[in-house]
């Protein structure tokens, strides 16, 4: 079980609610590693600290991923604010990912 948590949300962006996300990966798989890197870049560039990201390694918590309805990896779930969204793939399409997460660039 590995959980990566970003630092606490910053008071500066209190106007917009924090983005809560969960990324399902298989840590040994290239697409998963790529997804982690791509998401980290987007977060760093546009969200500063106003987000919460949980990274679930499916190899470690397979039954949890199964219960969560995950099929392929990498798979990113936007949990809040609504609307919820799901993105699959290595998140290489930056603008598409931002659109799905509701991040204005």
């Amino acid at each position: 079980m590995r959980r990566k948590k970003t630092p606490d949300k910053s008071p500066a962006s209190a106007v917009t609610p924090a983005l809560v996300m969960r990324l399902y990966v298989v840590n040994s798989a290239p697409n998963s590693l790529l997804a982690v890197a791509n998401l980290a870049a987007i977060c760093k560039e546009f969200l500063q600290d106003n987000f919460k990201l949980e990274i679930v390694d499916v190899l470690e918590q397979p039954l949890r991923a199964l219960a969560d309805g995950i099929l392929v990896t990498p798979s990113l779930a936007k949990l809040s604010p609504s609307p919820a969204a799901n993105i699959v793939g290595n998140l290489s399409d930056k603008s598409g990912v931002m659109r799905a997460l509701g991040i204005r660039g």
Binding site: A29, L71, N86
Partner: protein, 602 residues
């Protein structure tokens, strides 16, 4: 082939799929812990094959399984399978796990993804439930999402490696359009898999036909060629190939063909387990004969299956009741099973499979198929011919006595031979025809052949009445059997002639008796006459003696009186004649004497 089988079997342990017919085709099922690929167009039965294998493994061997559905949701799959008697909802609660692996349309795709996560989850699930089987149903749907041939190949490899690591019996299904594997990776996939099975659905003469073919089976022999597939309550069934060797036991037990006179014509009835073909143009009461056969079987307490094509069971039973054949009570008691099928709905081979299932289910001793020729309507004549033969062989294998009808095109039985060509396979062949003569149409029954038994060669009239079918007495005239009114006339005529003849005989007898009596009377009269004559004769001869004696005495007296010497006797004789005429008395006596002299003279 057998030698090869002996070598390969120990190396490749197989797991039966439990799909009727397929385990025969594949010589035992699918290879243990290997992956089989099912290829086929939409609606060709891939999902049913895969799911049925899982269901059978879970139910029969208590082997849990995982079903990964890329195309359909779990609910859809369970709903679709509800038409089969698998009890899927219950199995889905404990023995089978369904993973609905569809990416929702709302899911945004951004860049490449892979199946490593899914396989990790499935491994965990497998360990949790101890699954022995896994199905990846509709993997093509997943692969198209990858949008990259190289990625597709990578994922296929990933699955293969995963399966190898996890030691599961696996089935992967993929859709192919137009019966050919257009996508490069399907060829690649086929190369990777140990066993490749193709399912096909095509239209032939407007009928949807399902086929199955094993195109590759690594390390195992299998039955090559396409075989028909059909779907029944137990799921998919494959029309497995027939053994080339015929091993039918021949029974000498006779059973009734329906009614006594027909049995008599057949030399005592039909042999148990034999097949009888009844041909005839429409309306020659083929169904009636089969109905009578079925009724007779039920009356003996034998389970019977009555299969009718293109006519419902209800109208058949009603129509048969009008000629005194009651099938309904036997249907109620469960002895008789009526099954009606529309021929166009499915192909000939599907009918065969259905029939097999029915025979397995009902276990009949007697079987009626009316009319078998109807199967030629669906799916072409060649298939129908093969099916017709197989039905007969199948019935023989099961020791079922079968009666089959076939509609012939013309009244000539020879035309039947060109239609389904079952006449050579059938043991007994009865032909029904109309004979039109003197403005009448009458049903005629001929036994064309009956193997291993004496049978009548005569054409007989088949008469239907409320008491059922029967064969009329034979009246022949000019070498032809008379029928209908002609027969009736002949019958009446014969009765009249008989009466006349009897009267004639009576008369003649009486005449002769009279004549005899007359003769007797005459004999009596003559006898009396004879007696009288004899008496008279006797009387006369005595008279004559007396007279002769008296005359000689008188002569002597006369001589004495004339004192004539005895020498004078010589002259006396002529002198004797004189007094005859002279004395006038004793005329008759005189005459007699003359007669006597005349008699003596020569």
């Amino acid at each position: 082939m057998n030698g090869m089988k002996k070598v390969t079997l120990p190396l490749l342990p197989k797991m039966a799929t439990g799909i009727q017919g397929f385990d025969e085709l594949s010589h035992g099922g699918l290879t243990l812990n290997r992956t089989s690929l099912l290829l086929g167009g939409p609606g060709s039965g891939k999902t049913v094959f895969a799911l049925q294998t899982l269901v059978n493994a879970a139910r029969r061997r208590d082997e849990p399984g995982i079903f990964v559905a890329f195309e359909e949701t779990t609910r859809q799959i369970i709903a679709n399978a509800a038409c089969f008697n698998w009890g899927l909802p219950a199995l889905a609660r404990n023995k089978l796990f369904f993973l609905a692996a569809q990416l929702s349309p709302e899911v945004v795709q951004s860049g490449e993804f892979d199946l490593s996560g899914m396989l990790a989850m499935l491994k965990a699930k497998k360990q949790e439930m101890g699954a022995r089987w896994i199905v990846f149903d509709g993997i093509d749907v997943l692969l198209t999402l990858l949008q990259n041939p190289i990625a597709e190949m990578q994922e296929i490899y990933r699955i293969r490696d995963w399966l190898a690591d996890n030691e599961m019996n696996a089935i992967v299904t993929a859709k192919i359009e137009g019966g050919s594997s257009e996508a490069v990776n399907y060829g690649f996939m086929q190369f990777m898999m140990d066993c490749v099975i193709r399912l096909d659905r095509r239209l032939e003469h407007g009928v949807s036909l399902h086929r199955i073919q094993i195109t590759k089976y690594r390390g195992s022999d299998f039955v090559a060629g396409e075989y028909p597939v059909s779907f029944g309550p137990a799921g998919m069934e494959v029309g497995a190939p027939e053994p080339s060797e015929i091993k039918h036991a021949a029974s000498t037990e006779r059973i009734s063909a329906g009614f006594e006179r027909l049995d008599m014509m057949l030399g005592g009835g039909l042999f148990r387990g034999s097949s009888t073909l009844i041909t005839g143009v429409p309306g020659t009461s083929k169904t009636t004969l089969t109905g009578k056969f079925a009724e007779a079987a039920c009356r003996r307490g034998e389970r019977t299956l009555f299969v009718s094509f293109d006519e419902g069971a209800e109208p058949i039973m009603r129509n048969l009741a009008s000629v005194g054949i009651q099938l309904r009570p036997h249907v109620k008691s469960g002895l008789l099973r009526m099954y009606s099928a529309r021929t166009e709905s499915i192909g000939a081979e599907d009918h065969l499979i259905k029939l097999k299932a029915l025979i397995r289910e009902h276990r009949p001793r007697c079987l009626v198929i009316d009319p078998l020729s109807a199967i030629a309507k669906a799916g072409g004549l060649a298939a129908a011919r093969a099916v017709a033969n197989r039905i007969i062989y199948m019935a023989k294998d099961e020791k079922v006595t079968v009666m089959i009808t076939a509609i012939s095109e013309g009244d000539d039985p020879q035309t039947e031979a060109t239609e389904l060509q079952i006449s050579t396979v059938a043991d007994t062949w009865i032909h029904l025809s109309y004979i039109v003569r003197s403005g009448e149409r009458n049903r005629a029954l001929t036994i064309i052949k009956s193997r291993g038994t004496w049978h009548s060669n005569q054409v007989r009239e088949l008469v239907l009445s409320e008491a059922g079918p029967m064969l009329a007495d034979v009246y022949t005239a000019g070498g032809e059997v008379l029928m209908g009114t002609l027969r009736w006339e002949k019958e009446t005529e014969e009765k009249a002639t008989k009466k006349q003849r009897r009267a004639d005989v009576d008369l003649k007898q009486r005449e002769l008796q009279f004549a005899e009596a007359d003769t007797r009377v005459r004999i009596k009269a003559l006898e009396l006459d004879l007696q009288r004559q004899r008496a008279e004769l006797a009387l006369y001869s005595r008279d004559d003696e007396a007279r002769t004696l008296s005359s000689s005495e008188r002569e002597n007296e006369l001589r004495k009186m004339r004192s004539a010497d005895p020498a004078g006797h010589a002259t006396l004789a002529p002198a004797n004649a004189k007094p005859k005429g002279a004395n006038g008395s004793g005329n008759s006596g005189n005459g007699k004497k003359v007669r006597k002299e005349a008699h003596d003279a020569p």
